[in-house]
Symmetry: D2
Subunit: 342 residues, 4 copies
């Protein structure tokens, strides 16, 4: 039987969430996020980011969060800037464009954006013949497993403010980023250095759910109208509220992310000692080692993963993703197997 | 402590669903609806409707289902016809229009559509200066608790086919409709007498989830692309699959609907014997009794419900909704309370 | 050979416009409305409405003007209120909905809106489950030839301001309205009693062209971006500028409207003296006399017009439209013909 | 007084068009393209491309044509492939995205597309997580003045057919392309080697107007509905019909293009003999010579043009555009001026 390293949503959710669902199951709660648990989860997040006025709304999935946020904050003639590798550009079937907005893309070898990469786009958009860039989309961790440090995010945020750009952070794997060994930011820093971001649950131990957190006052108005019109307002909002309440108590979400990062790091270190190199430097739960094809073929008999990119003839970067549920013994066996065939 | 008759999504889900989530929790499953449970649920539905080629996709909520279906089946210049009371027209914040399509509305006292109500709309749309009606939206049960019988749906479907209209049925409460005492249809009939419909889970015992069932071949192509671009494709599709698998086994969903209908019916009969009348005739889980204001004020001290419509000075129709979770003793107490004050 | 009373765009344009096109033809002018003539036309309009800060943009046609204005001023979850007979609702193939916005309609026997008709719509839109009405669409003259007087428009505008609604006036036939015998408004009044409106050229003597006039400061920002993205910004903006410059000099547009109104009025008076009645009371260039079918059949041999509405068995309202180009002798002959057969 | 080489829409139109407008001015014609002249123009185009079944519709401008065509032929999850320099990508304020569709871009040094440039895009779009490329957008002549030869277009069209892609050609300057010395195609070839294209009038001697020509049967259905809903159906369609009727008679449009090409070519040859080089090789009416900054500063005193691109410190490519109206004596003076300062 094979083990699946393809993604971090192959399992269900942390067992304590199921317990919380059971314990609250027959309570009558208001719909649409006006339930006790959602309100509690909101308060905890507001406390963590030390912003009592943050507007917080829970939705079911990441593509939904992205299209909802961007269609809410952009006027029809405004665009969003993203790395080419950005999830909204590469992996969401045109969901943002379907709401009417152009994504302007930038090449980035490590999946991250910085002011120097954005400046050329601002320069070419001078008048009403071009879309007006108004938002910058980043993900942390990125689609390549890399993360922003505080200095980079500060630079980017200051640049955005100076240029009248909203900074939006896709945090599908934010817990993993903030738990990475090389990370030097808290979730409070994230809140202060962006205009709007989401803290992802689906890929960090929840069944489903992402918490959209808006700190910029100008973006808060009537968000729930937008949420409803995009089909992103669940009747049983409690299902999301209970999960985030549970994930945020005792910092469970960050503990789960810690585990997933450690599992990936263990593989990384082993591969490094075996002399393998990587497509991008990652200490989060996505890693991209480079293997010759014959190694890949042997691994495929026992493990599932994505062949990410051709590097040279007969040489490929693969993607391995660990999660809160990845057993350490599977990681150890994977390392052993690799040692044998390397 | 008050009891809430406001809607049928105040509680969590049937306990067996939580058990199923627990039992499957650590299994690794493919994402995006390609998991074992979703495929199993699909097969059960295909069996029930005796159509092995039905295209079936699970989504999180009803508004999402409606906007996804209608934006998928309509061309930019095509409209959908709905009763004024239709959920897409009255209660979804313009979600369908946000995908670019006009809803053409018809007055209907009981929330149902029939060919004679649709003909005037077809007549006024003669050429390229008007939208082209291409779909008919109905709900069963309707927003007023009423249901279609087989003869009515057959008439409507034949009319649609003759006039090149797709018939789409919003089945948020389809289980309730098909379990109603006056119902004479099976889910197989529904499948044969519509082009596309959904079987609702959220309001019938699931945490979240609606199963969109497409029987018209011309509407099946690339549905999953549309699902993804509307943000309606969950990474952990298993969460939906497990629920529908559970709800469909041993016809659990219909048994739950049966209970909710019986609870409403018990109230209806008691009210009738007390001499009260109703806004619409319903034997499903939504009923609309008409009360003088003083009765309403007394009831409000112990029960929550929606004041639906002003009928006359000092006289209002209220909406009472029961669910799979409504305890019979609450219903009995409600009836007793009413007897005392009537 | 028949004469065509079907509409007011059967002919080309007033000859002086063609002369102006010839005289300016080889001048080099900037594109996109930045030419001398457009700027001149803008200044004249600003002078007429005594508002130097009015934002004025010229577009090619009426449906384009409507979809551009409404998509510019509404947020995704906001709707526009219109009479059922409103052009945007009945005759534009869902152009407004195609930009993502719901039109909420009201029945009105004379095609006009007033606060009492709007209040029920505002009442039913209480929270994020419904679209939020944000604009009111009216036309003057209406699709039934009727016009607003100053008292009515003042009431409506005050009501809109009190309820945070933008008032948008479709002026496809505004020149005709302002030239009607019963009119008591100037174009300055129109500017002061709306937030945004357009002065139509196509139906009042131009080849093509409508002037969109924005007086509400909050609606002015980046309008040209919206204009471009809807395909409504002509490279040779001069073509529109020259026409409006010509139409506005010496009030030509109002003189032309005057003629078209007079021709309709002459017919109206003759029909009244012959005992015919009308669907709506109009002293503009659209009239809706009611004839028995046999009269209509005889008229059809020599005249083209639209059969508008069935009034009773064998009795129909027809629409007759006159224009700046309608020869008085045709009108006289039409009246004579009617006298003979009545 | 300066001369303006900034674009090919600084003047009005060929005088014969104004004559035709005068001569037809008082004729009563049907609206919406159902007039005699539009029908005549359609027949001439059908004759020229030897396709009696071609569907032909006239619209006012190029951005409008592009957004109308692409929104008509694509399903919501489908994208269009374009060169980065493509007008739809760089110069239309997100008009295509505003209709809901992603543009997938390719770098091309000469503004042209070929199968090898498209293949990588097709490869990365494998399933429902990515948009599905369905159309290829090219312009001829391109935004860099280059043109396709018959072999290139044949290759591209065959590739498109093999890969289920519609080939759409933006012909804003098609007359110029087909009149270029190096061209080896007829308009019939264009019709046979694309699925849909437009023949541009605005930049080739008309006041306004582009003729959209659809040869692929699957794209013809209900095009006029789409035209109306995008605000692209003029009431006085005659204005477009008369112009195309005039431009097509005796091949006037190609004669005008011939003149504009010759004027550009005369400048090109003079500059080559003076030793200047060019950004792209063009024998159409747009040329991109490279000048040192001091030359540009001198030229700017007497001529207007666009500084297109920085080539090196102190070295820039400028864009010079000639038109049907460019006087040869201005061209001669420009060449003389350059000789003096070079």
């Amino acid at each position: 039987m094979t083990y699946n390293f393809t993604n971090d949503y192959s399992e269900g959710c942390h067992p304590s969430i199921l317990n919380a669902l059971i314990n609250s199951n027959l309570e009558q709660q208001n719909g649409y996020g006006e339930d006790f648990y959602t309100q509690k989860a909101i308060t905890i997040i507001q406390d963590k980011i030390e912003d009592k006025n943050a507007d917080i709304n829970l939705v079911a999935g990441g593509t939904q969060a992205n299209l909802l946020v961007l269609s809410s904050i952009l006027r029809p003639y405004e665009s969003v800037i993203s790395a080419e590798t950005g999830h909204i550009n590469s992996h969401e079937t045109g969901a943002v464009e379907a709401t009417g907005h152009k994504i302007e893309t930038v090449y980035s070898s490590n999946g991250k954006l910085s002011p120097d990469k954005i400046i050329p786009i601002l320069k070419r958009s001078s008048n009403y013949h071009s879309v007006r860039p108004r938002a910058v989309y980043i993900s942390n961790s990125t689609e390549l497993g890399t993360i922003y440090n505080k200095e980079e995010l500060t630079d980017l945020y200051k640049f955005c403010k100076k240029n009248d750009l909203f900074l939006y952070l896709d945090g599908a794997r934010l817990a993993s980023a903030l738990s990475a060994p090389s990370n030097n930011m808290s979730i409070k820093d994230i809140a202060e250095l962006t205009d709007i971001f989401y803290l992802g649950g689906t890929k960090c131990g929840a069944l489903i759910g992402e918490a959209i957190i808006t700190t910029n006052n100008s973006l808060k108005e009537n968000f729930k109208y937008n949420q409803k019109l995009r089909g992103a307002l669940l009747a049983k909002g409690r299902v999301l509220g209970i999960q985030f309440f549970q994930l945020l108590q005792n910092n469970l979400i960050f503990k789960l992310a810690d585990h997933s990062n450690l599992m990936a790091l263990k593989i990384t270190k082993a591969l490094e000692s075996l002399g393998y190199s990587f497509l991008a430097q990652s200490d989060t739960n996505q890693i991209f080692p480079i293997f010759p094809n014959n190694i890949i073929q042997i691994l495929k008999k026992e493990y599932e993963f994505t062949i990410w990119k051709s590097i040279a003839p007969d040489l490929f970067a693969i993607r391995l993703v660990t999660s809160w549920a990845t057993p350490e013994k599977v990681v150890d066996k994977f390392i052993d197997d690799l040692k044998k065939i390397s």
